[in-house]
Amino acid sequence: MSLISALARMEAAASGRAEPVATVRHRHLAERPLVLVPLTTAGETGAPLGAMVGTDRGAPQVFTVAQPRDRDLRFAFLGRLAEALLPHLESCQDEVETIERKETDPESGKRVTVEAELCADAPQLLVPTAPGVDFVRLLGRSMRFRRTAEEDPGTPYPAPPRVPLLGRWLTHYAERSRVPGSSLLLPLTGLLTRHWATGQSHLEDQHLGTLLAWIAPPDGESGAEAARRAELERDGTGQLVRPPAGPATDPAFDNRLLAPAVARYDAGVPGAAEELRELIASQLRPTWEAMWQGVDLLRALPEGAHVPDRWRRDRQSYTHHRDRLRAGEPPQPRRDDAVTAARKLAMREQRQAELEAQEALDDPLVMAVRRLAGEAFTAAVTDVEMAYSEGKRPTPRPLVTLRTEDTPLLAEGDKVHRQLPEGAQQRAELVAEPEPGVLVLRLLSGMGRGKEPAQGTVPEPGDLLCWTLFEHSPRGGPGLPEPEETPWTHGGPPGEQTAEDPDPLTPEDVL
């Protein structure tokens, strides 16, 4: 935990109200996000109990499973969920812009520029909590290998149409959510804790109700008190006034209300299905309202300057998935092969480094965290001395003397970076530290190609500059071999990727 966030948490604990830890919104927030509140059944992994879905806070759709252990009912539920989610997930496929992209020509092996489509927008999916994201992943996993009657007329338990397709979309969204800074699928608790610090523990921050209570307590009540009520308050029958945001349900609800209702349904009591539906909806509704309250809070923050850049990558990811579906490729495999796993990890590490840099550049409060950690510093220019590189074509290498009150962890020869007023980057190296707090830097780049530095690229005495020890757009690593060239150290080539079979049926799968 950084010093600033530790301070913010202590201040929040002292004042009873959440403290902001960001001045801008660091994630994309769609104009019309699709909110999904899923619930699962205790005791069986991946058995959905119900879901509330929609893009309009006033008109959610509710789907429930009367007997969660019944596979037929479960897949009927997933079929309805697919009909509700897919139109939204597929809604951005056709509105495209044309972009240019570098690609290796398979015949000549040269890098050539090709035109490609990029979807102009992508649908965003919001769930309440991080376990909700895991649940989306699990649903995707349980659906994408299933076969419909159309795909495989011989299958004894055909999946409803479009269920395998929803499985592939949810798998894609859940996998994308592992990329740092991505915004296709986000948990609201994660979004809120990125922007506010509460006076409760990180574990308690996983509770959407208490988190909102800290950030926006009701009038006349402190966040701490409201959070306590949100977590513990029960009605006369022992039920939580604000049920947990799921996907797990409250055991008191399971035991006293849900289990008897399911038993009535199993016994064939008339009206039991409707009763269950209302019961499950009652657990979903408070979270649904909380989701939109959170969205409103986040919308009030101005968007960070680099957020559109990162959202563009999400759009690219969405477009790639669309292309794979259109090309008739098989569902995502159960296990990544060695090269795919290494590529994903390398890409995520690069995105993580980029995200950390961009958040700091977009937000002085985040930059303050880096400054306190010795990874950045602000400094006033006290002197600029023109100098040139040696060699045939001398280029400008001005020496800039700075005075700072920060304590960057710098040694001679270390590189530092700053953003120029026009957005370009400039690199410099530390030449000397004649006395504590005084640094002499040699500017190394960003001054144009001419013999004299371009206008505005060399600072002047009196300027206040912010330098970082980290690069602003970290470079990617070298390429990895193609999967068919996987070396012997990693088990050799994985073989042709084919459509995997559905999961085999086990005795437990039939109720």
Partner: protein, 460 residues
């Protein structure tokens, strides 16, 4: 609950009082011959060598490279950092000034140690084509990954293979047909800044170590082990071996009487001097500060570390060892301070500068890997902490910090760490198929603390 003192089990052929009956030179030579035989004439595509701290890993790499080259097999050598590459090239060129060695480097300014310029046989270039035809070409894994081979090398040596990540090996393994993998399994594991749990337990988990991946795909490969640490003194080898290498024990190459550390100036009676004398006499010292929860850069602990170093220099230490006939003065260059975090290292550096101490190496465990000093001063990773996280418990971090010294190690720590450990049992989920580190950090920490308790000096 308190930790039991770990039994320092020795193989039956070694008396507890030293190395009587055990000829370290012979044991090490036998291991080396077996490794070279497998490397030069073996039928396997890979050979793995586990090397405990200071067991002559670099010597082995240099010897294997020279023998392969002499047998007419040009080879590539892959190390992990530029410092390691420069060090290896320097050793190769010093061992055989005639040997044509290539140093493949990046195109950044000052890409290699200028000290290499004194070797006329070493050719340096950023382009692999410039180095074609040389017997040995050395570079980092990161640089090799950019090389597109016309034809793979017949042989390679991968140094520090346990610190190399599986995905880094994936990027370079196409460059060679067969390789010798050398490394220390007890040091810091490679890590990733982003979560890699989704691949945990896969045989090709990209965030695992290169050796883990190699062996899970090729379990038949011969695995060797260097049995003798030439760096660690007889006072340290049993502890480090038992705490960090319980299933692959090693011994010190020197006996109890072979090394001696003494101070010229008399002690002034302060706790700092007492812990120095304790460390000089027994090889270990623990300066125990009163229990407290502190920020990472605990000013009192940082100042205590700096005072220990200051007094060590003031009292003019003299080191007797098997390396030289005459005793050698303990200079600042032979002393290192190890910390867990960079900001702690920065704070210690500032404190030392304030006390006019120059030339002492101060760095984090990550950066001290592979280095050797006469005396080390360690700021304990758990000192003053309210919690024991996976990072601070990591076995490798403590192992690196407690195995850099030839003579003595002084640990500075707040009291109460055993209780802290008891309050924080490991809670990380166990993942199917993933190799578990044995011993885990919790157990290793308990073993080291139990041993240090006998050498503790309270600071007040």
């Amino acid at each position: 609950m308190t930790a039991a003192v770990p039994p320092f089990a020795r193989p039956a052929d070694v008396p507890a009082d030293g190395n009587g009956g055990f000829a370290p030179g012979e044991a090490a030579a036998r291991a080396t011959e077996a490794i070279l035989a497998d490397t030069l004439h073996g039928a396997y595509k890979g050979v793995v060598v586990d090397s405990p701290p200071g067991a002559g890993k670099s010597t082995l790499v240099v010897r294997a490279a020279r023998e392969l080259a002499a047998a007419g097999h040009p080879l590539m050598v892959i190390a992990q950092t530029n410092a390691q590459v420069d060090d290896l090239v320097d050793r190769l060129a010093s061992a055989d000034p005639e040997l044509p060695v290539g140093r493949l480097h990046s195109s950044e300014p000052k890409p290699y140690d200028p000290a290499l310029d004194r070797h006329p046989s070493v050719r340096k270039s950023a382009k692999p084509a410039d180095l074609a035809g040389l017997d040995i070409v050395v570079s980092t894994a990161a640089k090799w990954a950019w090389v597109k081979p016309e034809e793979p090398w017949r042989h390679a040596i991968v140094d520090e293979a346990y610190q190399m990540r599986s995905d880094a090996l994936l990027a370079v393994a196409g460059l060679f047909e067969r390789a010798l993998f050398v490394g220390d399994p007890g040091q810091l594991d490679p890590f990733s800044q982003v979560g890699a749990e989704q691949w945990a337990g896969f045989s090709h988990d990209p965030s695992a170590s290169a050796v883990d991946t190699l062996l899970s795909h090729n379990p038949e490969l011969p695995q060797h082990r260097l049995p003798v640490s030439w760096r660690l003194p007889a006072s340290a080898a049993p502890l480090v071996s038992d705490a960090f290498y319980p299933y692959t024990p090693f011994r010190s190459g020197t006996g109890h009487g072979d090394r001696r550390l003494a101070f010229t100036a008399r002690p002034d009676g302060s706790p700092v001097d007492r812990v120095l004398d304790e460390a000089a006499g027994s090889g270990w010292g623990l300066l125990e500060l009163p229990a407290a929860r502190t920020p990472r850069t605990d000013p009192e602990a940082v100042s205590a570390v700096a005072q220990v170093v200051r007094r060590m220099l003031d009292r003019e230490g003299v080191a007797h060892s098997e390396r030289a006939e005459e005793p050698v003065a303990l200079s600042a260059g032979r002393i290192a301070v190890g910390t867990a975090h960079r900001d702690q290292a920065a704070a210690v550096r500032a404190a030392l500068a304030y006390m006019d101490v120059e030339g002492v190496t101060v760095d984090t465990a990550n950066r001290l890997q592979g280095r050797e000093f006469d005396v080390t001063v360690v700021l304990h990773p758990l000192s003053g902490r309210p919690d024991a996280t996976e990072f601070h418990l990591e076995t490798g971090r403590l192992c690196v910090l407690t195995s850099r010294h030839r003579h003595a190690c002084v640990v500075v720590c707040r009291a109460g760490v055993p209780e802290l450990l008891d309050d924080h049992p490991a809670t990380e989920p166990v993942r199917l198929g993933a190799t578990l580190k044995a011993p885990d950090g919790w157990e290793a920490h308990q073993a080291v603390l139990a041993h240090l308790a006998a050498h503790a000096v309270p600071s007040r």
